[in-house]
């Protein structure tokens, strides 16, 4: 079985972003970019499935600018076998990404699509679901454990207050949650080897799918600053403040 892992290049989780002066988005120029952490978990899981003998090949794909090949190299340094860069300079929204991925799925014919549940930049949490719907495949989202056997995949899903276990017929789409695994380090020897693994580049426009945006960003603003706390003398004072100032009781 082949596993396809769609990955996204995002602003590194250590970096503090700031809102652009015109409120159109956040400043990303010159910031450190890296592999979306949830996608990293998905890559790790796919490699583990291959190491268990469940899968035979792990293919990573990203849709983005030329520089996004760095996260494909990182994924291959972790252990993915080959990579596809679907090149575009536009920022695509989940529906367009799902359209492009559907074209890649049709081309690659994977038995499983394993991807992060969401990207840490826009936190949409939608691409996996839209892709599953467009493919007409079953979906197991927020996975914290997966087992593959007899043409089916059992997915433990993280839901409010517990875990739900679903069994899906393959092919399927699985989206990775935080607890699925702890990704390995890309070791230096493996980074060196990854430079020689195959990386194919396609033009997004050549896929022949609808990549148009339908969402408009109205404004982006920083969260309001928290007011400094004050110390109160006693409980009565607190009740008084809750009544008169906070107006919550």
């Amino acid at each position: 079985m082949k596993i396809l892992v769609p990955v996204k290049r995002v602003v590194d989780y250590n970096v503090k972003v700031r809102v652009a002066a015109d409120g159109s988005g956040v400043e990303t120029q010159g910031l450190k970019m890296s592999l979306n952490p949830f996608d990293e978990i998905a890559v790790e899981e796919a490699i583990r499935l291959r190491e268990k003998g469940v899968a035979t090949e792990v293919v990573v794909v990203t849709i983005g600018v030329q520089a996004a090949q760095d996260i494909l190299r990182t994924s291959m340094a972790m252990g993915a076998d080959r990579a596809i860069l679907v090149k575009t300079d536009d920022t695509l929204e989940p529906r367009a990404v799902a359209n492009a991925l559907k074209a890649i799925v049709e081309r690659e014919q994977p038995g499983l699509v394993c991807m992060g549940k969401q990207a840490i930049d826009d936190d949409m949490n939608a691409t996996g679901q839209i892709l599953a719907a467009k493919l007409g495949w079953p979906q197991g989202t927020f996975a914290s454990a997966v087992t593959v056997a007899d043409g089916r995949i059992e997915v433990s899903r993280e839901i409010d207050g517990g875990t739900e276990v679903v069994s899906l017929a393959l092919p399927a789409v699985v989206t990775a949650d935080l607890r699925l695994n702890e990704p390995r380090y890309a070791s230096l020897p493996n980074i060196m080897k990854a430079r020689k693994k195959p990386l194919e580049t396609l033009e997004a426009a050549d896929l022949g799918v609808d990549l148009a945006s339908r969402l408009t960003v109205v404004s982006v603003a920083e969260p309001a600053e928290r007011k400094e706390g004050i110390k109160l003398g006693n409980a009565a004072e607190l009740v008084e403040k809750l009544k008169t100032e906070a107006k919550v009781i």
């Binding site: 250590n14 230096l188 020897p189």
Partner: protein, 546 residues
């Protein structure tokens, strides 16, 4: 511990550290020895992630290294247009007249205000285009020594748990074999220190002295931005015996680089370089530049201040030192980039010759450095920094004027550095406490909110990379005699003294906050703090702009 099996890879040259010196060395090498295989490792998560500098740079070395740097898109975009040197009193600022005559080494005509992190990223691209293999996120943890020579480096192990055991993701470091190893780690590099010790490279030279630079980058309203303005100050808030001063540069898109360097030979244990930096922003000569602006980035790094007298032997069997690893910073000029680059280029030339002649030691480096402008530049200013240490700031400035204007750097004497920086602190009982203003969270801030802006991160389960060699010494010396100076000189709030019982104090080490400035390794009175290289990628993540 059991012997770890390590993978090996062989290169002609391994460069440790992706700053201006290392990158220039790698570029120069590929230019003159296009077939040489070169591997450059950098402990930061990407090239530039650990770079802190003012920076006004002199393009001289860049001109020599990549003459068509302009068409290659080098990010030198803000030329210096206006320059001031201020002597501060608490309320006033006196501008030094005829700066280019009184302090000719300070003149910045034709220089550029840059983000050195951005310049390094660009140099990294140039190096990669020339075929240098660059691996950020990997720290050089040890020198690889074989047959009494350096034969490469061993990169750090990853995935070691807090208690030293191997975690599930343990990934052993790799041996990068090299015919020649170029150490360009910056000031107080740990492999450089090892090489200096092992091969006795500091024999017969002065001790290295250091400064601590703490920097902020601000975004200011467009109408207040004056690209190309360069302002330096000395005097207040430091006393006459403490070397240091502030810088303020307007550059880029409404950015202001502001920072403060404190000579680490300061003697008052109550001095806090961080607080000096913060309160200087409140001086009328600085304040107006920040009002209405927003602080974006924070960082800190120690720099070498010893100058010519403190430069060690540069070569050893199997490798060389360059850049601030050796101490090539020109202190009076307040610049180290062009000297670091030049020393890297010279190192590359000597190394290329050693590769060709199959010599273990690139001995021609010493001669090459002595015959270059780099040496005469540093020789001419060699007495200035020690004069400040000897006679204080005002008399030192006077001497500097005489030395440059009348003697033109050709004084028949050389002033020395009599003390290492860890020997200069006075016991707390003899020191005056300094009353620093509380942060107003508009112009001045505390350490916690500052470190936040350095985007510092360390994998949290790894062993603590800052250790006390001896806890009892911390109590009897650091606490009892000096009242925990590390809690003040550390610009990242790593060290806090805590009451652990009735009259019992202990040191809390928040190693996760560490911005890799190396000050503790330098200033601890008994050199009791051990700075080990943490897991690669750890430390600050300074963005472009720094």
């Amino acid at each position: 511990m059991t012997q770890i099996e390590r993978e090996e890879m062989e290169f002609d040259v391994v460069v440790v550290g992706g700053g201006p010196a290392g990158l220039s060395a790698a570029i120069r090498l590929r230019q003159i020895a296009p077939d040489a295989s070169i591997c450059l490792i950098e402990k930061g998560s990407e090239i530039g992630a650990h770079i802190v500098s003012g920076a006004v740079i002199e393009p001289r070395s860049l001109e020599e290294l990549l003459p068509d740097w302009r068409s290659l898109g080098a990010p030198l975009n803000t030329e210096v247009t206006e320059e001031r040197m201020l002597f501060l009193t608490e309320k006033r600022a006196i501008q030094i007249p005829y700066l280019d005559r009184v302090m000719p080494h300070m003149a910045n005509h034709g220089n550029y205000v840059v983000s050195l992190g951005e310049v390094c990223r660009w140099l990294g691209e140039q190096a990669e285009a020339l075929g240098v293999e660059i691996y950020p996120g990997f720290a050089g943890a040890e020198l690889f020594i074989e047959n009494n020579r350096v034969a490469g480096v061993i990169t750090g192990d990853m995935g070691i748990e807090r208690d030293g055991t191997h975690g599930p993701n343990f990934t052993p470091g790799m041996i990068l074999r090299a015919k020649q190893t170029i150490l360009t780690e910056g000031a107080r590099g740990s492999l450089s220190a090892h090489a200096m010790k092992r091969f006795g490279l500091r024999k017969g030279v002065d001790t290295q002295t250091y400064g601590l630079g703490i920097k902020e980058v601000w975004e200011v309203p467009k109408e207040k931005h004056r690209p190309g303005l360069v302002q330096h100050s000395f005097g207040w808030p430091l006393d006459d015996h403490t070397y240091g001063g502030a810088w303020l540069y307007h550059f880029g898109d409404n950015l202001v680089s502001y920072g403060f360097v404190t000579g680490l030979d300061y003697s008052n244990t109550y001095l806090s370089p961080f607080e000096e930096m913060q309160r200087t922003k409140l001086h009328p000569a600085f304040r107006e530049h920040f009002e209405g602006g927003k602080r974006l980035i924070y960082g800190a790094r120690a720099l070498s201040e010893g100058g010519l007298q403190s430069i060690p032997r540069l070569t050893f069997p199997g490798g060389v030192l360059a850049g601030d690893s050796a101490g090539f910073l020109n202190v009076p000029k307040i610049k180290g980039t062009h000297t670091a680059m030049k020393s890297g280029m010279l190192a590359a030339e000597a190394v290329a010759e050693a590769l060709q002649t199959e010599c273990t030691e690139a001995s021609s480096l010493t001669e090459r450095v002595r015959n270059s402008w780099l040496w005469s530049e540093l020789r001419d200013v060699r007495n200035i920094r020690p004069a400040f240490a000897k006679w204080g700031m005002k008399a030192g400035a006077l001497y500097a004027g005489i030395d440059s204007m009348i003697l033109r750097g050709r004084a028949p004497w050389t002033l020395h550095h009599p003390h290492a920086d860890n020997e200069t602190l006075r016991p707390s009982a003899l020191c005056e406490q300094i009353d620093y203003p509380k942060p107003d969270n508009v112009l001045t801030f505390d350490r916690v909110s500052s470190v936040f802006l350095s985007a510092t991160n360390h994998e949290e389960n790894q062993p603590v990379h800052l250790k006390l060699r001896n806890e009892a010494i911390w109590r009897t010396v650091n606490h009892d005699v000096f009242d925990a100076p590390e809690s003040r000189y550390c610009p990242a709030g790593v060290y806090e003294q805590e009451k652990s019982g009735e009259n019992e104090w202990s040191l809390r080490i928040n190693a996760q906050n560490c911005v890799h400035c190396k000050t503790c390794d330098i200033k601890d009175p008994t050199q009791n703090i051990e700075w080990c290289t943490p897991e690669g990628s750890g430390g600050p993540n300074y963005p472009v702009g720094m």
